[in-house]
């Protein structure tokens, strides 16, 4: 069942250190120029252009800048970062160092989620080795004036800390509540200094792009979503694990590769993503169509869609930071609605009200969590109306 085969991934074909060495012969502007040309977008799911983030941080005049790696991989169904951290940690650290060079940072922080504490000592040893090899510390690889070191900070079991401003709050010793933006972290980040926060996978692609060239990267994928992407596949399919596919792959193609054909739906993008029913399997996985941070949960024909929606709403109710009203109250209401639907006691009028509430949450919530938490509910309610309305109490569910 478990078929993660990392030997075929691009990451295993790029030698650690190679990209970093090459990048250090380039000027910071050239590095950012290369990333611009590759059109690399954030691999955490939001798809923000990496080069833009870096350009903004590089433009600020400050002696102290930070590079933060977001390893708070909490999205349900996502585990690609776990595989990268165990198999390609050096490549990721290379990426962070290149990022530091590009924006002029001297300090890096890996924010590792509390659930991955078992990886901490392994990563610490890796960092110690890098210091010994001159890849970290004073004058990295003999480049006069380029000092950079990385430390690891642990999360403490809060999904919301995957949001970049909440992550920074957490690093500063605060409750992990997202900040108002602007100001953006690129000019007022950790401790008030310019900070770039990028996903583990984003950093790992950087040395690959430097080594293989921007053209290699942007030849793959679609116009607005270039390159390759790691997908975490789980659920009702023959092959679970992490797979590398080009952006712009259709869901049908993906399912064929993981022996998941015949599925009823696919939850793309985890709990905050959308549920795609079988009739839409022709759609592509790309930032402009069905976006995902890599989470693909295949839902088989025997599953109860209300069970799926209910599971996600319980998750959000638990993980909402409670700071803003639409998210704190809205998630509770949506979950109540699901309970009503399960019992077959929800009127069409009330369901419409709930959908409106969901849309309000998408508009009025402060951060990405509240804005995306109704996605699964709304897509399931609209696409699977036949299945969820008018249930009699003893309806057969899966199990």
């Amino acid at each position: 069942m478990r078929t993660t085969d990392t030997s075929k991934m691009t990451f295993s074909k790029v030698a650690p250190g190679e990209g970093l060495k090459k990048a250090l012969t380039m000027s910071p502007e050239e590095i950012i120029g290369l990333i611009t040309e590759s059109r690399l977008k954030g691999r955490g799911g939001a798809g923000f252009p990496t080069d833009l983030k870096w350009t903004l941080a590089a433009a600020v005049n400050d002696d102290l800048k930070y590079v933060v790696c977001n390893a708070d991989e909490g999205e349900p169904g996502t585990f690609k970062d776990r595989v990268i951290l165990t198999e390609f940690a050096d490549l990721m650290f290379d990426g962070m160092t290149i990022g530091a060079r590009a924006i002029g940072a001297c300090k890096g922080i890996v924010y590792l989620r509390g659930e991955y504490t078992y990886l901490r000592s392994f990563l610490k040893n890796k960092l110690a080795e890098r210091r010994k090899d001159g890849l970290l510390g004073k004058n990295v690889l003999g480049h006069e004036g380029f000092d950079f070191d990385i430390e690891i900070r642990m999360g403490a079991g809060a999904y919301i800390c995957g949001e970049e401003t909440a992550l920074i709050e957490s690093l500063e010793g605060q409750r992990g509540e997202p900040r108002n933006r602007p100001p953006f972290p690129v000019n007022t980040g950790f401790m008030g200094h310019p900070t770039i926060v990028n996903n583990v996978e984003t950093f790992t692609w950087v040395p690959c792009i430097v080594t293989k060239g921007a053209k290699w990267f942007n030849d793959i994928g679609t116009e607005r979503s270039t390159g390759l992407k790691l997908f975490s596949v789980s659920g009702d399919c023959g092959r679970h694990g992490v797979f590398e596919f080009p952006m712009g792959i259709t869901i049908q193609e993906l399912l064929e590769k993981v022996d998941g054909t015949g599925a009823k739906a696919v939850q793309a993008g985890g709990a905050s993503g959308r549920c795609v029913p079988a009739c839409d399997f022709g759609r592509t996985i790309a930032f402009e169509d069905v976006p995902t941070g890599g989470s693909i949960i295949v839902i088989g024909p025997d599953r109860d869609m209300l069970q799926v929606a209910g599971n996600f709403m319980e998750f959000f109710l638990d993980e909402s930071c409670g700071q803003c009203t639409p998210c704190r109250e809205g998630n509770a209401k949506l979950l109540e609605g699901i309970e009503l639907l399960k019992a077959g006691r929800c009127s069409m009028k009330y369901l419409r009200e709930l959908c409106k509430l969901g849309e309000t949450m998408q508009l009025a919530s402060k951060c990405g969590l509240g804005q995306s938490s109704p996605n699964a509910f709304l897509s399931i309610v609209t696409k699977f109306k036949d299945e969820i309305m008018g249930r009699t109490e003893n309806v057969t569910s899966n199990a």
Binding site: E115, G157, R175, G235, F315
Partner: protein, 179 residues
């Protein structure tokens, strides 16, 4: 706690905060260390940390109550966190939950009377490809079956030599929940 113990604890915390650079960003790492060592963050610790960092104790409480891996309530020596998110749910986490409750004689959110085990839910442990998964303190177990639950608990009991105290295994299976 003895006065001397308190003084020792205060000195230790002072030292650790200093190691982390004497500013607020030391707060969470220090609380995590306290949590690891004592199984909870007591009011006394919150007061001490607040004094050293020159912040109000309520600020510290705010942080302690926010994060699910740090808490005011005393937890067991082994904290078992079972993943309840969709992929693990689809791979049979409910049966596992029932078996854990049976073998430990407690429900989720509770700690065994001997203070050895706490049972909790977790949100996605990142092991969706090998579910159902559970975390025992820092250690991850994957593809757990109701049958292997017993082995995992047994492993915990022998690990820290509490086996001697645990001769009589909890016999009481819980009655079916009223719901």
């Amino acid at each position: 706690m003895l006065v001397s113990e308190r003084e020792q604890l205060r000195a230790n915390i002072e030292q650790r905060i200093k190691d982390y650079g004497n500013n607020r960003s030391a707060l969470i790492p220090v609380l995590q260390e306290v949590q690891l060592k004592y199984g909870h963050v007591s009011e006394y610790v919150m007061q001490v940390v607040a004094d050293i960092l020159h912040i109000h104790p309520v600020e510290v409480y705010g942080v302690v109550s926010f994060y699910s891996f740090i808490g005011h309530k005393q937890k067991g020596r082994f904290v078992i966190r079972l993943c309840r998110t969709l992929s693990c749910d689809m791979q049979g986490k409910d049966r596992l939950a029932r078996q854990l409750e049976n073998d430990l004689g407690i429900r989720f959110g509770e700690t065994t009377p001997d203070g050895n085990f706490t049972l909790e839910w977790a949100n996605c442990l990142g092991m969706c490809d090998q579910g159902p998964a559970l975390l025992v303190n820092e250690r991850i177990y994957t593809q757990v079956t109701p049958e292997t639950v017993h082995d995992i608990l047994e492993e915990c009991r022998t690990l820290f030599g509490v086996y001697a105290l645990q001769e009589k295994e909890t016999q009481c299976a819980l009655p079916t929940p009223a719901k």
